[in-house]
Symmetry: C2
Subunit: 161 residues, 2 copies
């Protein structure tokens, strides 16, 4: 994945957290993840396809997920429940939507989000698509975004893959 594409995802998550949740994210250093590292408590995954194919993973620790849900839906959940799943899926969806608008050249469309729960879950990508992980901090705790994006050989392949 080309480094210049990362910025689209960084700007999108910062903007979504600022405008939708009223929270400022502080970005850490991006890194390439080295396999089977457990993620935070809940992760939203969304697929991207078009003239590139990719996946975005938004991962939050428990406190950040509960607070983000309260900020988005107006009610404070006490545990990771269906509302938190909906909120995390919707945040992943908004981040993907913001990034795809900045990556017009790929004519990306987004899939339905899915949301992973379970302490100690790991999310891996195929070895041909090394993702880049971008960690963030906010007053609620830790949030990170992981992005893998593979350009297809030619634009005409968009509907053929």
């Amino acid at each position: 994945m080309k480094v210049e594409y990362i910025n689209a995802f960084v700007l999108s998550i910062i903007s979504v957290f600022r405008t939708m949740l009223g929270t400022e994210l502080v970005r850490g250093d991006p890194f390439v993840k080295d396999g089977f590292q457990p993620r935070h408590d809940i992760s939203g995954i969304i697929g991207l396809s078009g003239n590139a194919k990719g996946t975005i993973v938004l991962s939050l620790d428990r406190d950040s997920a509960l607070k983000a849900t309260e900020a988005l839906l107006g009610e404070a959940p006490h545990q990771i429940d269906a509302d938190v799943v909906d909120a995390v899926g919707e945040l992943a969806n908004m981040i993907a939507g913001g990034a795809k608008a900045k990556l017009e050249q790929f004519q990306l469309s987004v899939s339905l989000p899915s949301v992973i729960t379970g302490k100690g879950h790991c999310i891996e990508f195929p070895s041909r698509a090394k993702p880049i992980c971008i960690p963030f901090d906010c007053t609620w705790g830790s949030v990170d975004v992981e992005v893998g994006l593979v350009e297809l050989p030619q634009p005409a392949a968009a509907t053929a893959t």
Copy 2:
């Protein structure tokens, strides 16, 4: 998700396991999953987008995942490692590819797969998109496929979402 679309995914997984892995799958009864049920040991997730948006989850128990990897790559892994991740991602990719060919009306394209590991992980969908789970048995153990597919209001929305 309309019941008539399930068949495309059922036929695709049976075909992929038969032709790529040399194994016959026996289908159980499809059901609508009722939240936060742990999945098998490893799951491949792939997004679909086009004139519908969706997600496919292929979930395998440990033995099935190891045997499927051996059948696909020719070498027997001893644990869930990067080869098993690649194999499960590739199987999810092939199942999605087979199903999209049978659902031409949606002009679906597939995202990059991601693969979830970690005993007790749960995979949830947003509440507006109740997925259907189709369990299968084979000589190696249990495999299941879960599919959520939401039709978009109008075909013209394909590149706008």
